[in-house]
Symmetry: C2
Subunit: 329 residues, 2 copies
C-alpha cells in the first residue's frame, strides 16, 4: 500500500483542543468599542488561513510536554502579529484577494487596514505583557523588527531583476521565517528549557518557515495548482523577484531575460504575459526546483528536532515539515 | 513691564542635556542594514518637530528629581511610537506636508511609509524590553492600542457632520492625549514613586495633550496664524470634524449647516470654500472658543502638579501648559 501524502492532519489533531483556547483568546482580544476594529479584524481572522504560527507554538509545547497554559495567550499574540502584517502587506501590495476572499483593504479601505493592523500589533504586545515574560517579549519584539526590515527589503528588491538567490533567502528569512522561529522558540521559554532546546525549536521554525515561503512562491507559478488563496499571478504583476523567477532568469536566453526584465518592471502584465512567464518557468523546471530547495530546508527542520523524544508531537511536526514541501494550497 | 508670552524655553533648557542623549539613542536605533529605513525615518526625525513627548518624559523625571538615566531610552521609545503614528497618519490622510516638508509617504511612497512605521514601532518595544520594566511595557503597549483605536474612531467620524464635542474629545483623548499621559507616567515608574504620583503625572500629560490637540485643530482655521507645519486647510479638505467646525456647525444657520454638510463630505474643497469656512469660523468665534476650551485643560494640567515641590521643573511644566494654549505654531 503506498504511503499517503504527508498532511497537516496529525498536527491539527495534536493541537485541536489548544487551538480552541487560542481562537477564543483571538476573538476576545480583537474586540474594541470602535465597531470597525472587530469588523475588519474579524473579516481576516474568520477568513481562516492555516493558523500555522500559533499551531507551531502549541505543537512545540506538546513536544516539550509542557503542562501549563501560558502558551495559549502567547500563540494568540503571535497570530495577531501575523494578522497585522497581512493587513499591512495587502495595503503595500494593493492586493485584491486574501485567503480566497476580497482583501480587507478593498472592502474597508487602506486607511482602516493600516490602523487596524496597528491596533492588532499593540494588542499582541498587551497579551505578552500580561504573560509577563521579558524573554518572550524580547523574542517577539525582535522578530517584529526583523519582519518589518524584511518587508522593506522586499520592497527595495521589487522589480529588480538582478535580485540574487541569497538576497531572496535573506528576505524570506526575515519576513516569514523569523516569526515561525519565534513561535516555536517561545514554547521552550514557557516550558523553562535550556538555551540549547530553545535554539533547536528556533531552528525548526526558521527552516520550516523558509520551506513554507518557498512553496508559497512556487505555487504562484505552478500550473498544476488551480486554487490558491491569493490571486494567481499576483507576484508576477507586482514584480516580486521570487525564486521561480530568479532561477528562470538565471537560466534564460538573452531574449527570455529581456522578457523578465520587462515583466518585472511592469511593462508586461497581461494574461498572455503571465502565460508566457508560466511557460518559461515550466521550460526551466523552476517550480520543481523551488520545491527541491524547500525540501532541503524542510529536512533541516526535521533534523533540528531529531534529538527530542519520539512522541506524538515530534511525529506530527516531522509530517508538517514534509507537508510544507508537497502542499498544493 | 508686561509679562512676556509663555514659551517652551524653560522646558527646553531644563531638558536640553537629556534630549541630547535621547536624540543620540533615536539616531542609533533607527539604523538598519536596509538603507531605506534610516533614509525614510531620518527624513521625518531630522525634520524636527517639537519632540514634546520625550521632553515631557524628561521634564517629569526632573520634577521627581530622578537621578538615573533609564528614562532616556524610554523617552526615545515614546518618540518612536509617535513617529510610527505620524508615518501611518500621513498614509491614512494622504498628506502632502509634514513639519513644513514634503511628507515621507510622498517622497518614499505609501508602502515604505507603512513598513518603516512598523519597524519603528517594533524598535520602540525592543527599547522598552531592554529597559526591562513590565510596568512601563504595560503602560506603553496600552497607550499604543488606545492610539490605534482613536485613529480608527477618527476615521469613522470623518465626514460625519453630526460628530459631537464629546465624541471629538474622546477621539483626541485617545489619539493624542494617551501618549502624552504615558510619556509623563513612565517617569514616575522609573523613579519608583507610588501610584498616586503616577496618576498625577498621567493627569498632567493627558490634559496637556488635549490642550495641545485642541490648539493644533484651532490653528488649522486661525486666520492670524500664517505658518504651520502642515498644509493650512488640510483638516477642512479631509472632512475632519474638529472642534472649530463642530462649534461653527452647532451655532450656524440652516444655510451655514448645509455648507458644512457639503464641505465635510468633500463637495466643497476649493480655496474659496476654505475662505468661506474660515469666515464662518471667525463669525462664530470658534477658534477663540477652541483656545478657551484648551485653556480649561491646560489649567487642569497645571493643577495636577500643584502639589509637587516648587522646583525648576514644575515651573517649566506650568509654563509649557500655558504655552500649549497661546502657541501659534
Amino acid at each position: 500500500m503506498p504511503r499517503s501524502e504527508p498532511s497537516l492532519a496529525p498536527v491539527l489533531a495534536l493541537t485541536a483542543d489548544g487551538m480552541n483556547c487560542v481562537n477564543q483568546i483571538i476573538l476576545d482580544r480583537m474586540q474594541s468599542k470602535i465597531p470597525l476594529i472587530p469588523a475588519l479584524a474579524g473579516h481576516l481572522i474568520a477568513g481562516g488561513g492555516k493558523r500555522m504560527r500559533p499551531m507551531l507554538t502549541l505543537a512545540s509545547a506538546a513536544l516539550l510536554e509542557y503542562e501549563g497554559n501560558r502558551h495559549h495567550k502567547l500563540a494568540a499574540a503571535v497570530e495577531f502579529i501575523h494578522t497585522a502584517t497581512l493587513l499591512h502587506d495587502d495595503v503595500v501590495d494593493g492586493s485584491d484577494m486574501r485567503r480566497g476572499k476580497q482583501a480587507a483593504n478593498i472592502i474597508f479601505g487602506n486607511p482602516a487596514a493600516v490602523l487596524v493592523g496597528d491596533f492588532l500589533f499593540s494588542r499582541s504586545f498587551e497579551l505578552m505583557v500580561e504573560d509577563g515574560s521579558l524573554k518572550v517579549l524580547k523574542i517577539l519584539s525582535g522578530a517584529s523588527a526583523i519582519i518589518a526590515e524584511g518587508e522593506v527589503d522586499q520592497l527595495t528588491a521589487q522589480r529588480r531583476v538582478e535580485t540574487s538567490e541569497d538576497q531572496y533567502l535573506s528576505i524570506i528569512g526575515a519576513k516569514t521565517a523569523a516569526l515561525f522561529a519565534a513561535a516555536c522558540r517561545i514554547s521552550a521559554v514557557v516550558a523553562e528549557r535550556d538555551p540549547a532546546i530553545e535554539q533547536k525549536l528556533d531552528d525548526y521554525g526558521r527552516n520550516l518557515g523558509i520551506a513554507f515561503q518557498l512553496v508559497d512562491d512556487a505555487i504562484d507559478y505552478d500550473s498544476e495548482v488551480t486554487e490558491s488563496g491569493k490571486d494567481k499571478g499576483d507576484d508576477f504583476r507586482d514584480g516580486k523577484m521570487t525564486l521561480p523567477v530568479i532561477l528562470a532568469y538565471a537560466r534564460g536566453s538573452a531574449e527570455e531575460r529581456q522578457f523578465w526584465q520587462d515583466a518585472m518592471q511592469g511593462r508586461r502584465t497581461s494574461d498572455e504575459d503571465l502565460a508566457h512567464a508560466t511557460s518559461l518557468i515550466a521550460k526551466h523546471g523552476t517550480v520543481a526546483d523551488t520545491r527541491e530547495r524547500a525540501k532541503h530546508f524542510a529536512n533541516r527542520a526535521i533534523d533540528s528536532i531529531s534529538g527530542f523524544p519520539a512522541n506524538e508531537a515530534r511525529a506530527a511536526m516531522i509530517e508538517a515539515a514534509q507537508f510544507a514541501v508537497s502542499r498544493r494550497f
